[in-house]
């Protein structure tokens, strides 16, 4: 870094409010009510989180069904130092989680104390936030499965 360079803090903020439509809005409504929804695809598989169109066939999604709130970690990465914008205060693991009743995994955090508690294939369940608005962070994260619902 050169010493004689002028520097100034610069913050870019975009206060996006996005309209959701019936598919994404349906899924987010489910989150608000502590219910997980998946999209039925024409080949009979279930996609969670649901997209408005099937990425394989381009067919519109017309049916959202309830799926499980626990599932299996398909891959993970330890986040020892949460980044400033992430909705996780303590070190956590990024993970792809395939929920029971879904055929595709979703991305979220797993709230455990250290990386030793993580393994691919482990069972986890949703921990809901108390205050929910219809937002992906209504899920506080996943925790190792205990059998008790979120």
């Amino acid at each position: 870094m050169s010493d004689d360079v002028l520097r100034a803090p610069l913050v870019l903020e975009y206060p996006f409010t996005r309209t959701t439509g019936p598919v994404i809005g349906g899924f987010l409504t489910g989150l608000r009510e502590a219910m997980m929804l998946g999209a039925k695809r024409s080949d009979g598989t279930v996609m969670c989180p649901p997209l408005e169109y099937d990425p394989l066939t381009a067919e519109p999604i017309t049916e959202l069904i309830e799926i499980g709130q626990a599932g299996e970690v398909t891959t993970w990465s330890w986040a020892g130092d949460p980044r400033p914008q992430q909705p996780f205060e303590q070190p956590f693991a990024w993970a792809m989680v395939k929920l029971d009743g879904a055929d595709t995994p979703m991305l979220h955090g797993v709230l455990v104390d250290d990386a030793d508690a993580m393994s691919t294939g482990m069972r986890v369940q949703i921990q809901w936030r108390e205050e929910r608005t219809g937002h992906i962070a209504d899920i506080a994260g996943f925790v190792p499965e205990t059998g008790d619902a979120g």
């Binding site: 870094m1 050169s2 004689d4 360079v5 520097r7 610069l10 870019l12 996006f16 996005r18 959701t20 994404i24 987010l28 996609m47 969670c48 989180p49 997209l51 990425p55 394989l56 398909t74 891959t75 993970w76 990465s77 330890w78 986040a79 020892g80 980044r83 400033p84 914008q85 992430q86 909705p87 990024w94 993970a95 792809m96 595709t104 995994p105 979703m106 991305l107 979220h108 955090g109 990386a115 691919t120 937002h135 992906i136 962070a137």
Partner: protein, 350 residues
């Protein structure tokens, strides 16, 4: 198909260019390239660039860079919010249509003012993923663990890729990570984005690249040994991570087939691989064997200038062809999380 070739290029990459703005460091590159083939801006048929305002946080910075071309009288111009390699593709299409005989292409960014790994979270799905702000290293790490646990690749192989990239980068004056490191030492590094180690991750740089394309006789007239584009194709995978197999790249494989990678012997390849795992996936997808020298420049592991690194791969490959260091090369550019988009270009000398 019309014969189109890369006839000139210039690049600059540094860890941080904090004493010049983007346009200030791009203008000398544009001038250098045009002068090297004796063209002025008014001789150029089409100008196309790739950049993103999010990288430096400068709204509409790309319109300021247009001033660097000297667009008076007004020029025929376009811009993509993609790596400059996609700008090159647009220019190549324009040349194929026969509308123009020459094109100027550039890509650039200054990522040092911000945190690139975090800024890249803004390219993710805005409803389900971006609000969680997964940084780019974390996303690749998820793919890396799947590759490792599926036994497709091991840490030894990734460390070999990292070590070889460093050895190559040490000979490249534009690389920013130029210290050699043994496979053993890399294996001993503590994970940075578990399971990825620091040497598995590209070396962020500020900078840019400028390329001139010319068609047919115009290329032969302006260059002693043009690097002919014998095939070029780009493909995209689905955006949603959950519906993709992150351990392989269908889009790179198809782009490679369409570009004709396997039609003849490949002397070397310049691949946009921001992670060692990306390089593994790409060599598999493109069917590049052990006889192919991968990233003689050191690749993005040696210097990663967002929005330019793909174009730099094409420029590096073309320059080696023009110098006579090889007769047939593959150049690749990528974009998006876990290389969602892939562009493959086959270059040949005559």
């Amino acid at each position: 198909m019309r014969d189109v070739a890369v006839i000139a290029s210039a690049q600059r990459q540094e860890r941080s260019i904090d004493n010049e703005s983007e346009v200030e460091f791009m203008v000398p590159l544009m001038q250098q390239v045009k002068e090297s083939v004796g063209l002025t801006q008014q001789d150029i048929g089409f100008t196309c660039s790739g950049s993103s305002d999010f990288i430096a946080g400068q709204a509409f910075s790309f319109v300021m860079t247009i001033d660097g071309t000297g667009p008076v009288p007004p020029i025929s111009e376009s811009h993509v919010e993609m790596d400059g390699a996609w700008a090159l593709y647009e220019a190549w299409v324009k040349l194929q249509m026969g509308e123009v005989d020459t094109a100027l292409i550039y890509g650039y960014s200054k990522s040092s003012p911000g945190s690139l790994r975090d800024v890249l979270a803004t390219q993710m799905d805005p409803y389900y993923v971006a609000p969680l702000w997964p940084d780019a290293f974390a996303i690749e790490a998820l793919a890396a663990r799947q590759m490792l646990e599926a036994g497709k690749v091991d840490h030894q192989r990734l460390a070999e890729i990292a070590s070889r990239a460093r050895t190559h980068a040490a000979t490249n004056p534009h690389a920013v990570r130029r210290t050699e490191k043994s496979v053993e030492d890399i294996m001993g590094e503590a994970p940075m984005a578990d399971p990825l180690r620091p040497s598995d991750i590209s070396a962020a740089a500020d900078g840019g690249c400028v390329v001139i394309l010319a068609a047919g006789d115009r290329a032969r007239e302006l260059s002693d040994r043009p690097a002919w584009i014998r095939g070029i194709d780009h493909r995209t995978d689905a955006h949603t991570l959950g519906v993709r197999d992150l351990t392989q790249s269908m889009s790179a494989r198809i782009a490679g087939e369409k570009a004709g990678v396997g039609d003849d012997k490949v002397d070397f390849a310049e691949l946009y691989a921001p992670f060692t795992t990306s390089e593994y996936v790409l060599t598999e997808a493109l069917g590049l064997g052990d006889d192919v020298v991968i990233n003689p420049s050191g690749g993005a592991l040696g210097a990663h200038t967002m929005m330019a690194s793909g174009l730099i791969r094409i420029a590096e490959a073309a320059e080696r062809i023009s110098r006579g260091d090889g007769d047939r090369a593959v150049a690749h550019a990528g974009s998006g999380p876990v290389l969602q988009q892939n562009l493959v270009c086959v270059l040949e000398g005559e």
